[in-house]
Every structure is written in C-alpha cells, then in structure tokens.
Symmetry: C2
Subunit: 259 residues, 2 copies
C-alpha cells in the first residue's frame, strides 16, 4: 500500500488525505469539480488533481472511494477493473456494490462524524474493515492501520449495526442537545450552561455502561416531575419526552432500582 488514489474531496476524503500523505504517496485526488480536487490536493501536497475518471492512473496500489453514498455505484461502474484494491468508505453501503465490477475490493469505514469545520485526528478513530477475500482484508486493514490505531475487521451485519448505533449515539444524542438549545433560547438562557453537565455525562461512560449511569426523573419513576415537564412541552418535544421517558422506565422497573 505505497501508492493510493483518493476519489472524492468532501469531509471524509479530506480527513483521509491529510492522514494518508504522512504515510504513503497520494498519487491523485479526484472530484467532479476540478477546483475542489485541486484545493484538497494543494492542501496535502499531492501533485495531481483530476475531474475526469478516465484520467485515473492505473498503477496505484489502492483506490479509495470517499464520495457521497448515492454516487459510489456510479464511480464503480464508470471505471473498469484494474486488478488493484478498491475500497469504499461508507458505513451504510454494502460491500456488494463492487461485486462483478472488481476482483479485489473492500470497505474501510471510519466511524466518525467528519466536518470541514473540525479536522479530526484519525489516530483514535475506529475504522471498520471488510473485504472480498482474506488477502484483500489484510490489505484493507493495512491501509487503515497506516492512519489509525483502531482498525477492526467486521462482517456486513456488524457494520450495519455499528452504523445504526452511531446514528443513535451521535446524531440522536446531538438532536437532544438541539431540542434543549431551542428551549433555553426561548427562555432567554444560553446553551453553554448545559456544557459541564454534558461533559460529565460523557465522562461517566469511561467508568460504567450508560445504562448504569442513568439519572433523572425517568429512572427514578418520579411521576410528579415527569408530569410537570410534559405540561411545559408541546409538539415533537412533548412526544419525544414521553417516548424516551417510557423507554427508560421500562428498562428500570421501579422495584429493581435503588435510585
């Protein structure tokens, strides 16, 4: 894995390019928009930015597809097999997108929420690897191991579960903060007031499972507080409060819990 090509110039491609240039030669960066490919290529010191898939070099060891989920199949179909290793980086797309189009292929999914605003160091990001065959899996893991200390081989079913779990852990937790932000803004209070509480909630995850560290009116079955909260809320905030409270209560029967 000494020479790689990166297909894409978005959030994931940007993070991967920054990580990979330290450990191997990034031969080309492709984007549908040449300016985007060039900007990323310049940022990481890669000589070759292209916007036409027919210009792809043929002698790279690996081709990393880091484009939007819905155009991965188009990229695969647009380029004939060259015998090299091809991987996509999607958490939700099946490895089978390559079947019949490539001889050696895999998935190298960085389970992380990338954004242009925050450059994430990849060392601690967990990468999940999957491949068409044992030799290719070794190469996919090797590719990931250049940039991360946490590369784990998983099967397709496990990757699907990891993806759903990441939606709950990241997107849905973040939405809880969005709803809290809306409430506080309306009450003339800054969201920042919640940050120490959020930090502590996360620190607890280092000491115990989230189910064990749960606090609040739902786990206490504090019906009076729950009723007063529901009376303050409306719309989807009320529905969400009600549903999650029930879900917490169901997992913590009143007689079985000390709190």
């Amino acid at each position: 894995m000494e020479q790689v090509v990166i297909i894409g110039s978005g959030n994931v491609a940007t993070s991967l390019a920054h990580g990979l240039v330290k450990h191997c030669r990034v031969m080309q960066i492709y984007s549908r928009q040449l300016a985007h490919a060039r900007r990323l290529a310049d940022a990481v010191g890669c000589e070759n930015a292209i916007s036409d898939l027919s210009q792809l070099v043929q002698d790279a060891d690996a081709y990393i597809i880091a484009v939007s989920d819905d155009v991965i199949a188009d990229v695969i179909a647009a380029v004939p097999d060259n015998g090299a290793l091809w991987v996509h980086t999607s958490g939700s797309k099946p490895i089978d997108l390559f079947a019949g189009h490539r001889s050696r292929y895999g998935v190298l999914w960085p389970m992380q929420s990338f954004s242009r605003e925050l450059v994430v160091p990849l060392d601690d990001v967990h990468f999940f690897a999957e491949a068409s065959d044992a030799a290719s899996l070794k190469d996919v893991v090797g590719l990931g191991s250049m940039i991360s200390r946490h590369v784990v081989a998983v099967d397709s079913a496990q990757r699907r579960w990891l993806h759903v779990a990441s939606v709950f852990s990241c997107n849905f937790a973040n939405h809880m903060w969005t709803l809290a932000d809306e409430m506080l803004t309306e009450a003339g209070l800054p969201f920042d007031a919640l940050k120490p509480l959020i930090s502590t909630t996360i620190q607890k995850l280092d000491h115990m499972a989230p189910a064990q560290s749960q606090t609040g009116p739902a786990v206490r079955h504090d019906k009076e507080v729950i009723a007063s909260h529901l009376a303050m809320l409306d719309g989807d905030k009320r529905d969400i409060y009600d549903m999650i409270t029930q879900s917490i209560m169901n997992r913590n029967p009143k007689d079985g819990h000390a709190q």
Copy 2:
C-alpha cells in the same frame, strides 16, 4: 456565610460538603441515618453528625437542604424558622416550598448529574440561584460563589426550563447511548468503539450550535438508509428512531440544507 449546615448525605450533599469545607465552616451534617451523616462528616472533617432535626444548631448563617425532592417539604415543616437563610438544591421543586415557613429563603441548584462513583469538581458546575428577596439573593449567590465560578440568578420559570433542558441533554442523550450499547452487545461489538465518535460530537458543541453540526441520514433526508435502519430495529428502538428522525427532518427541510 461563614457557618453552614448541610441537611442530607446523598450525591448532591456529598459534593457540596466537599466543596464548602474549603471555604467555610460546615457546622453539622444531618441524615435520617446517623451512620450516613457520620460517614460524610468524617470525610470532610466536620465535627457534628446528627440524625434528629431537633438537634440542629440555631446559629448557622445558612441551612442547605440537599435531600430527595419528595422530602424537602417535610424537612421545612419539621423545623421552625430561625431567621437564617434556608435554601434547597433541587432543580425541579418550586421556591414556594418555603413560603409561610421561612422569612429568608432561596434555591441554589447545581445543574450537574452527581453520582457517588464520580466526584465532580464544582468550580465549573453552573449553579442557578433564586431567592425570596434581593438581600437573600445576594446571600444565595454568595454561597454558591464560594464553590463555583458560574452562579447565575434565574427566575422560577427559567429554572424549570433549565431542568427540562438538562433532562434532554443528559438523561435522554445518555439513553441514546444505552440503546446503542444494547444493539452493539447483541452484535458482539464493544460499546467503546463509539466513544471517539461521541467525543467528537461533543467537541463540535464548542464551535457551533448543535443544530448546525447535525449529520447523518435524517438531516440528509437519506430515505434509503433510514428505511434500512428501521427494518433492522424493533420495539421502542424502532419507535424512537422513527420519531427522532422525523423531528430532525422537520427542522432541516430538504431544499434548505446543503448536506
């Protein structure tokens, strides 16, 4: 505020006692169970542990009620007014619990999720103060300011909103991690794999509002991924996925969002 009495020996009382002994004299610690009062008193070097409210000293400057929400009113009723400042530390209970029972009173609510397992430094905890009158408010804020750099005066309505917002931010976000943990355990994967993702999600809060940093299938209106996730889930996980996804989509109309 040179001499205080702490009524309670649970999570909140424990954190407050540890913070306060550095800055003032903790004259007494009360618990219904003498052994609990004594354990906390010994831990913070307070000479006087009691389990009978009639033994309360009369000459403290402030009496801090840090007991379970549902027994605050009993404590107030059991002790006659002595003209000192009395505060409770509940996020959800009204200040009016004191009305007619005390002449000077207030609320000093540390918005934090305390547990015996993790001792939280109070300096960065946000305390919200409320009082019966302007002079008492000054004293309540002064009491809080001995142990925290963030003491903010709020009215009852604002405190109620802060409490609901804290349930969403802390308890409900934590429940999202509980559900993710359940899924991963079933798939034979460790919850730890999600921690870097969770950390990044929180780090983003320092740079932008949670609504701005939202990622994932819901904000992208990625119906294919959403349908595949729903097909994997059942029970309350499915209902919660569906409801929160709708809530995110409603706040991010497809045409108004770049992602």
